[in-house]
Structure formats: C-alpha cells, structure tokens
Amino acid sequence: MSLSHAEPGFAAPLALLDTRVRMETPEGIDLILRPAGLLSRSIAFGIDLMIRGVLLGALFFVLGTLGDFGTGLFMLALFLGTWGYMVLFEVLHQGRTPGKQIMGLRVIHDDGTPIGWSASVLRNLLRFVDMLPFGYCVGAFTCLQHPLFKRLGDLAAGTLVIYRDLPPQRPALAEVTAINPPLPLLLAEQRAVQAFAERHATLSPARAQELAAIVTQPLQLSTSPDPHYPVQQLNGIARSLAGSS
C-alpha cells in the first residue's frame, strides 16, 4: 500500500498516523523505515541479556578452575561482555546483536546509513542513563513518548532501531487467464488488485465477493449469475499486472 499522502480523495485534518517514516536521500530516493517500539526492543534486549548471562556463567565455571588467573581472565571477559558485546555486534554485524537478529531488528543512523563506531559506543554508554533510576525506567519512558521510539542513548547518538526488511517472496497467484485492465491503473491501485489476488484465499468467500463488487463497475468486470466470477476476473487482472512466469 502507498504511504499517507499518496492516498487521494480524503485527507484527515491531521497527518495519518503510521509506523513507517520516509527518509529522503540527497539523491531524491525515498527510504521507507519502520522504527521499532518498546516491546520488540525489550524482548531483543532480554534475549541479549540471557545470551550474555549464559556465556559468562559458563565462562565463570570454566575459568574458575584456573584460580586467580581465571578470575582475572573472567573479569576481563566480564568487562568486554558488558561494554563490547552490543558495540561489536552492532558495528560488525550490520547493526544486529543476536537478540535483534532474532527479533528482526537492526540499528542504523538517523539518516538510514549503517551505524558507526562513535554512534554505537555513545548509544551503548548512555544505557547507564537509561537505566536510571531502576531497570531502564528512563529509557522505557522516553521510548514510549518519542514518535520514533528513541531512548536517550538513541537521541544522543542519532541512531534509530528499525525492523529489517526481509527480501520479498514472490507470491503465488491463482492460475487463471490474464485479463488486461480496461484502463490504466495507478501504482496504488495496481497494488490493491495484486494484494487482493494474493490474499483473497485468506478471506471468507463472501467478503472476497463483496470486495470485488466495489470495483465491478469501474473495472468493467462482467456481471454473471455466479457471484464468484468477478473475483476470478480480478485474479486475471492481477495476473496480467504481475506479468508472466
């Protein structure tokens, strides 16, 4: 579907709310980013915390056998784990710690560029402000109040946590004969027809027929006694829009 201002006709007095933001690059290319909110981020943080806890716990027992030397090594590991885990993963792994990877998140700069060392170090150092006065209170509060779901560290470092875009799969379309649309369709309309063809199987048949009835007249679909006939014709149009293969 298209973004807010692409929809013609009715415009609400306020801008339509959406969880997507549009970043325009200097080249005039629109990047669509989907900032991630508190829930998915805190789950990702919980996963990261668990991974670190398990690893460091195991390390503690292994290194415990080495006596003082082991304790020293463990202290070093603890330091690295506390300070380096997030930063190293974020910078060297395309903004994804294991928890973020699992939750489908990544960290980027505000302008959509990959996160660098200084921003990552800054946003992770400021975790200790976000933790005040207890258990990420400040961070959670700012995250809930900010329109892009930023905590203080993100505000300071100019970073953004977004949902990663997965490579799109080619959807399966019904095997019907392609029908050329009777009039040129706008991009948003083509997408609506495509979405209908992809998803009408998940709808109840009555609802699918009802949707098809909306466009029977403008798309000059032929009416017939079979109420399912317009749905098939829409599938045909979607087929021709999608192209062969």
Binding site: M1, L17, L66, T71, L125, F128, A140, I214, V215, P218
Partner: protein
C-alpha cells in the same frame, strides 16, 4: 465507521508494528487519555485509601484488580478518535457510565486474569458481543499470533513494576540523609499504623504509573485488534478499491458532462460515445446488497457538480476542496518539505559498578590442583605484564604529549634554557662566567699593577658576562661596544649606565688607541664594580 475517515494508515502489519502503532495512537491523544484516566482513577484510589486506611496492601490490590474498569474509557476515546474526531474531555466523561456497565462483572471476575485482556476488550465493548458469539469471535481473532497480546500484557505488568520501583527509588533518593536516618530509627520502633501514610504514598506511585501506562496498554491492544481485523477483512484492499472507484467514476462523470456539452454543440458526432457513458452513473448505488455489515460506501453522487479545478468543490461533505487545500499546505509545512533543525542534548553518564564475587568453587579447584599452580604463576606473569603495559602506556602518553603538558605544568625556569642561547664569546672575548675569577674587582686591582690592559679587559669581560646572565640582555657577537651601550641605556639604570660608559671609554682608549687609563680610573672602576655587583660577587 468509514475506512476512508481512519486517522491511521490502514495496512496489514506485523504484530510488533501493530503494538507500535498503538503507542503512536496513545501519543497523539496523550493529554486527553491521561487526563481522563487520572480523573477516573484518582478518586477511586483516594476512596480506597480512606476506606482501607489500615490495610494499605489490600487497598492497592483492590485498586489493581479494578483495572479493567478503568480501561473502558480510553478504548471509547480511541475508537471515536480513530474514525473521526476525538471527543472532548467532557463528552468522554459523560459517556463513561454507558461504557462502564456492560459485562462489568465478567471483566472483573473470571476474565480479569486473562493475558489477552486488551486485545479482546474491543470485542465485548465495541462489538457488544457476549457469551457464545463472543467466544466464536475471539476464536477467529485469536487464530493468528495470539502470543503478541500475551507478551504485551506480560511486558506491561513488568513495566508497571519497573516504573513503580523506579519511582520509589527516586523518592528515597530525594530524601535528605538526616531525615532518612531519623526514619530508619523510627521504623525500628514502628508503632501500629504510624507508617500507613508512607505505604499509601507508595501506593499512590502505582496510581501515577498507571496514568502513564494504562492508556498505552489499552491503545496497544486496540491496535492489535485493528490489525487483526485489517488482515481478516482486507480493509486495506477495500480502501484501495474505493479510491480506485472514486477516481474512475469521478473521471467518467467529467467525461459525461463534457460529452453532454459536446452533444449540444455538435449534435451529430459524439452520440455513440455519450450513450455508452450515460448508462454508468445510474448503476453506482447498485452494489449495496452486501452480505455482512460494512462501512457504508462513499456516495459518489455528492461529487457530481464537477467544476473548474480551482473553484470550491465538494461542498456537501465534511472535507471540502478548501479544507484539502489547507491540508496540502499543512503537509508542505512539514518535513521533508520544511525541515526543522534537530537538537540533541548531552547528559553525563553515571558509571555502574558490576559487582562480581571473586569466589571460585572449591570442588572444581581441587580437581585441577596442577592447573591451579600454573594458574597462579600465569596470573602473576600476566599481572606484571599488564602493569608494565599500563606503565609503558602512561609513559608513552606523557612523552607523546609532553609539549601539551608543558603548557599546563608551568613555565620551566628560563635560566635553564638561557645558557644555550648565551654566546660564549663577544668580539673575541671570553664572557662565560666560569672563565672569570670569583672576585673580579680584586683580581682587576691586582692585575692593574703589571698590565692595565688585562685588568681593563677582565673588567669589561666581566661586565659583558653580567649583562648576559644577570640582566638577560640579548647580546650577539656582532654587536659593537656602542650598540651594547645603547642596550644598557634601555635598561634605564643610571648607575649601571654611567659605569658602563666609563669602562667602555677607558677600554676603547686602551684597546684601540693604546692610551693607558689614568691612575685614578683604577679606583673609580673597581669601586664602581663593587658597588654595582657586590651582592652577586660572592655567588
């Protein structure tokens, strides 16, 4: 409910994104939601506190148990704000009783502990379903990803506890230490009921936390519900189809009007075209035989009076062309067309000390006694290495930034650097202090008997040496006696000036003119020298 009036972008989202949308929705109506929540809950809290003054824990438990009742009003506000304009505070509060009564008992008893409370709340409150229809509806809605709603509730209660404890910690952190000591002393002698007010105050923090989080929780559940219905009923496709219809039929009407005018002007040519179009508008309302309740169609008949593009149009509906023009201008005032400048602030981070016990389990240590010894050695070696590394680093840093440090450590005494700049010879005369006798005047007096030339030379060299070291005159070997006199004059010390003139005159007479100085010159010069440099002579 008209989909085209929705104040959010309707598209199928992932559950996480739907929850984020709920947060955004709550943000937009933040003031209204929080105020109405506070107006509803705080009196209840006050009443409970008064009634259960002796049982603070029971009071907060009852307050917590009543949460589903408070959540009715935010949902009502949000549902109205979503498809239309948000009600005012007065309107919202007026509609509270009607929203509160249906199924209140069920919400507060057997449905109270449901983890998907906020997700299913719209079913009973907005759709008004109960009993079997509600169960069926919930079964349909909950088919896909019911986990998100449960996680939302779980995280919500965690967040409430976190905020609550955070507020308490903040409160105790703000108490001055004297009062705190006083309090802990008093709490040892806790008299029955004396400290109830403190517990009720802490309960009040929970009420405050709920003002922030309660509406967000309702809004997130509502967004999840909307998202599920968007996917189930393909709202986004319906919206796209309606827009398509609006566009195509709108232009067909324009064509029809154009055809009509053309027909009146050129009756012969366009008959067939207009005839084919004319059949269209009459069919428009024909597809209203829907099988299930639907948002009513936008009535295209209202758009019929098509006029020149910039004249006011669409006057019979809430959104006129003028309003849409205003909306366009409003959009043009926002990014990316007008970019406000972001300002980000710095705050000082407070380091956190990771307390880590250094104990190692004994049974493991006993298993590897051999390793233990090597471990100790290794730890010593590594400790030494690390300390050495630290020392080297510090030394390197100091050496690397020595110039930078020097600017702050204070000027090193210039005397240390002066000897390098002082010339050792001035026009063939040794002027270094070491080459001179300790008591110059005495030596000169003794020398005067045998060779006045050496005595005068000694005095003159000593004078130059003193000028270089004591007075810091920047003399060069290229300077003439006259230039040296000029520099001495700049010091503005008349005794030194007179003495130097006298000495220079005698020295020049002797050195270049081979004229011996008069005898009384010996006395004058030596006593003059003693007068000027007597204090420093012994040094």
């Amino acid at each position: 409910m008209r989909l085209t009036d929705a104040s959010v972008v309707i598209r199928p989202r992932t559950s996480w994104e739907a929850i984020d949308l709920g947060v955004l929705l709550a943000q937009r109506h933040r003031a209204l939601l929080m105020t109405s929540w506070a107006i509803v809950t705080l009196p209840v809290f006050a009443l409970l506190t008064l009634l259960l003054w002796d049982y603070p824990s029971v009071a907060v438990l009852v307050f917590w148990w009543l949460k589903p009742a408070y959540e009715r009003l935010p949902l009502l506000i949000l549902s109205q704000a979503l498809f239309g304009s948000a009600p005012s505070l007065r309107q919202a509060l007026k509609s509270l009783p009607s929203a509160l009564t249906p199924q209140l008992i069920a919400s507060l008893t057997w449905r109270r502990l449901s983890l998907s409370r906020s997700f299913y709340q719209p079913v009973q409150q907005l759709e008004g379903l109960d009993g079997l229809p509600r169960a069926q509806r919930i079964a349909v809605l909950g088919q896909k990803d019911p986990r998100a709603a449960r996680l939302l509730t779980a995280l919500g209660s965690t967040l409430e506890m976190t905020f609550w404890i955070g507020l308490m910690v903040l409160f105790y952190a703000m108490i001055p230490p004297q009062i705190e000591a006083d309090w802990s002393w008093r709490s040892l002698l806790d008299i029955e009921g004396e400290w109830n007010w403190l517990e009720h105050l802490t309960n009040g923090f929970y009420a405050l936390v709920l003002i922030v989080w309660g509406p967000v929780y309702v809004s997130c559940g509502f967004a999840l519900y909307l998202n599920r219905r968007t996917a189930l009923e393909a709202w986004d496709i319906e919206l796209g189809f309606r827009n398509l219809r609006q566009r195509v039929l709108g232009s067909a009407l324009a064509l029809l009007l154009g055809g009509f005018f053309a027909l009146t002007l050129l009756p012969s040519s366009v008959m067939a075209a207009s005839a084919s179009i004319q059949s269209m508008p009459e069919e428009i309302p024909s597809e209203s035989g829907n099988s299930c309740p639907l948002p009513p169609l936008d009535n295209p008949q209202t758009d019929e009076d098509v006029a020149p593009p910039d004249s006011p149009r669409l006057l019979n509906q809430p959104l006129t062309s003028q309003a849409s023009q205003n909306a366009i201008h409003a959009v043009l005032e926002q990014p990316p067309f007008k970019n406000p400048k972001p300002v980000s602030g710095w705050r000082i981070a407070q380091p956190k000390h990771d307390a880590q016990s250094a104990e190692t389990p004994n049974w493991l240590a006993r298993l590897v006694v051999g390793l233990l010894n090597t471990g100790k050695t290794l730890s010593a070696v590594f400790g030494a290495l690390l300390w050495a590394l630290l020392g080297i680093t510090v030394a390197w840093v100091m050496w690397r930034y020595r110039a930078w440090f020097a600017t702050f450590v204070g000027k090193s005494p210039p005397k240390a650097t002066a000897p390098q700049d002082i010339p050792h010879q001035l026009f063939g005369l040794q002027v270094r202090a070491e080459t001179l006798p300790t008591d110059v005047a005495d030596a000169a007096e003794r020398l005067w008997q045998q060779s006045p030339r050496e005595a005068l030379s000694l005095l003159y060299r000593a004078l130059l040496s003193r000028l270089l070291t004591d007075y810091q005159l920047p003399l060069k070997s290229a300077d003439t006696e006259g230039q040296i006199l000029a520099r001495i004059a700049e010091l503005k010390q008349p005794p030194l000036d007179d003495f130097s003139h006298e000495l220079t005159r005698h020295w020049q007479n002797l050195a270049y003119g081979h004229r011996l100085p008069p005898d009384q010159a010996r006395q004058t010069l030596c006593s003059g020298w003693r007068k000027l440099f007597a204090q420093g002579a012994g040094a």
